[in-house]
């Protein structure tokens, strides 16, 4: 029988598999009932052992235990697809992506060996790190960014209750997958804004030229 931390880790990996299947189902045009069926079958397939390990165990071996932020985002997305709910508040999502991208850039570059200081160490219960996160959570609450507040609160609670093997708070808040998603989303946003800005500038220029020639 797996330990509770293993069960949590396997469940997280299973959520990724289900989310991937549902996304694929949407891409081929399945309706909600079909997506629900895919999600159910996917969850069972991910958790039933094939040989020594379930499929979720194979994935877990590669990506490790996924952060609570990733799981919250995946579950919110799944719920939206399966229940046709409204998309997440755009401001809240943007703020979360910014935090994840900045946090990930700082954490991964320094923790992997750039420089002498390892910020990963803060995650072992440093009270000042917790205080900083609390300040971010309260600021997000004040500015009505619920996804940020919820992600931080759930991550800190899961860390305090030791729901994963890791005793490091960073592992509950951030993982390379969600960092890659946030970073690439921001890059795409930036590229889109640039293209739109360029389009508007060209349009203005053309109008000005048309005006001067007439």
């Amino acid at each position: 029988m797996p330990a509770l931390t293993d069960l949590n880790g396997l469940a997280g990996a299973a959520v990724v598999i289900v989310a991937a299947l549902v996304t694929a189902g949407r891409a081929i045009g399945l309706r909600r009932s079909g997506l629900a069926l895919v999600a159910g079958v996917g969850a069972v397939a991910a958790l039933v052992p094939i040989g020594a390990l379930p499929l979720a165990g194979l994935l877990r071996g590669v990506v490790g235990d996924l952060s609570l932020t990733t799981l919250v985002l995946l579950l919110v997305g799944l719920r939206r697809h399966l229940r046709a709910e409204e998309p997440v508040d755009n401001r809240s999502m943007f703020a979360l992506q910014c935090l994840l991208a900045v946090g990930g850039l700082a954490l991964y570059s320094l923790a992997l060996g750039l420089g002498t200081w390892d910020p990963y160490r803060l995650g072992y219960g440093d009270p000042w790190f917790l205080a900083a996160l609390l300040a971010v959570a309260l600021t997000a609450l004040a500015f009505d960014l619920p996804l940020v507040t919820f992600g931080l609160a759930v991550g800190v609670l899961a860390w305090a209750l030791e729901t994963y093997e890791s005793r490091n708070l960073w592992d509950y808040l951030l993982d390379p997958l969600v960092f890659a998603w946030a970073f690439s989303s921001l890059m795409l946003r930036g590229a889109g804004a640039l293209v739109r800005g360029h389009g508007r500038a060209t349009e203005t220029l053309l109008r000005m030229r048309a005006g001067s020639s007439s």
Partner: protein, 464 residues
């Protein structure tokens, strides 16, 4: 500002939605207070930084001294050698040694068709010092069992390292790889309460935030006064770096500290010299030749380490092992050559690592390397070395064929005596294991009298 189509922002919320929105914010506020309340409570419950538990016998703790007047190790100088592993045609590497409660020693090493192969397992054998014999090796960890125990995919195993703690628990840490080469390594630990007869389920150590990849172990762990362990660890990617992981009694990493930055030394051997002082000797990974061992010190029980400095100790980028002796001297074993691993030496420092001197060359095939290669001569040398190592060897040619399997490339064959593991027992004897041509584990046993004799001889030699 109006919200983008399809989004739900504060401005898009109608007057009738204010009540649910306020409820949601109140719930979020409650969740935040709860989560951070529990979080701060956990944070403030952290134990204060501990001191080193200074060992009087090397790496083995929790054992009462057995030394007494008349003990044979204090009378006549003793130096004995033999082979731990007797299996032929398989790779054997990266041994680690601990003393057990009854005075026997238990060795761990990895073995398989080749280093990094999927069939590599962690083997263990027990040495009875009274009979001078090693037991047959048996498997204590293999990929399939590790996979099942960890509930995650594992492809292959690597370096083991072990410690017996003050509470009598025997800990074995070993490298596990899920994807790729050693860069994809993580560390797994298992524990035994009966000195290695049976083992508990494996547990994964989480050492880095990036998929938990690229953490390896080699040198012996050490103990803190609060019962937690310090595990010297390193990274192999890029230029390599060193750090210590602090592991609690349940096998979870609860703190870490960096010893060196990229290119300033990896694979640390940490030698606690006092409750708050220690030094770390590191192999010169990432250095351009001429490579030198790097050294870092701590004066606050590992909370901060000094910037690593290059020592005069020559090393070809191979593992180093060391011990702080009760009399304050430091004893280390390393390949003290610029290239290859064909010489292995025992070195001593009387001034806490400021200067070192070689007291004994355990292996030396430098001259053979510098001559033009002759396959027959190489085979004869291996055969002679095998017989000299262990007088019970009757099939020395098997040692030649096994060595040939791992030591021959680029149209010549080499020698490899590397990855030492050294302990000092309660009786005062020293036991050293190291890889012998990557195919066998060699055991060298010597006592304090022999060491003192060697130290005196070399001191006089220096004076002369």
């Amino acid at each position: 500002m109006s919200p983008a189509p399809g989004t739900v922002g504060p401005e898009s919320t109608g007057r009738g939605e204010w009540a649910p929105r306020r409820r949601r914010r109140a719930l979020l506020a409650f969740l935040t207070v709860l989560a951070f309340g529990v979080g701060f409570s956990k944070s403030f419950r952290r134990s204060p930084p501990p001191l080193f538990r200074v060992s009087t016998t090397g790496h083995s703790e929790g054992l009462s001294p057995r030394r007494g007047p008349g003990h044979p190790s204090e009378v006549e100088p003793l130096l004995r050698t033999g082979f731990v592993s007797r299996r032929h045609d398989v790779a054997a590497h990266a041994a680690s040694l601990v003393e057990l409660a009854d005075g026997r020693l238990r060795a761990f090493w990895f073995s398989g068709s080749a280093e990094g192969a999927l069939d590599v397992v962690i083997l263990s054998a027990v040495y009875d010092p009274n009979r001078g014999e090693w037991s047959d090796a048996r498997t204590v960890a293999e990929p399939e069992g590790t996979r099942r125990g960890l509930w995650r995919h594992v492809t292959k195993l690597g370096n083991p390292t072990a410690i017996r703690t003050a509470d009598g628990t025997l800990w074995l840490f070993y490298v596990t790889v899920t994807v790729g080469g050693w860069g994809g390594s993580t560390v797994t630990c298992i524990r035994s309460n009966d000195d290695g007869e049976t083992w508990g389920p494996p547990r994964r150590l989480i050492g880095t935030p990036f998929f938990n990849l690229n953490t390896l172990v080699r040198a012996h762990p050490f103990e803190y006064t609060d019962g937690t362990l310090g595990l010297p660890a390193y990274r192999s990617l890029l230029l390599g770096l060193s750090e210590t992981l602090r592991v609690d009694r349940r096998g979870a990493v609860i703190d870490k500290q960096r010893i060196s930055t990229l290119g300033r030394g990896s694979q640390p051997a940490v030698l606690p010299t006092g409750p708050s002082t220690a030094l770390a000797l590191m192999r010169p990974s990432g250095q351009e030749p001429p490579r030198r061992v790097t050294l870092s010190r701590t004066h606050d029980a590992g909370r901060r380490w000094t910037r690593p400095t290059r020592t005069p100790l020559v090393n070809p980028d191979a593992a180093i092992e060391g011990l702080a002796l009760p009399d304050g001297r430091l004893l280390a074993v390393l390949n003290d050559v610029e290239v290859e691993r064909d010489a292995l030496s025992l070195i001593v420092s009387d001034d806490t690592g400021a200067t070192w001197r070689r007291v004994h060359r355990l292996e030396d095939q430098v001259a053979e390397r510098e001559r033009s290669f002759d396959d027959d001569r190489w085979a004869q040398t291996v055969e002679a070395l095998a017989r000299a190592t262990d007088d019970t060897v009757t099939d020395a040619m098997r040692y030649v064929t096994s060595s040939r399997r791992f030591m021959c490339w680029e149209s010549r064959c080499h020698f490899d005596f590397s990855y030492p593991s050294l302990v000092r027992t309660r009786g005062g004897d020293f036991h050293l294991l190291y890889s012998w041509n990557r195919a066998y584990i060699k055991h060298v046993r010597f006592n304090q009298a022999w060491l003192d004799e060697r130290v005196e001889d070399t001191r006089h030699a220096r004076a002369d």
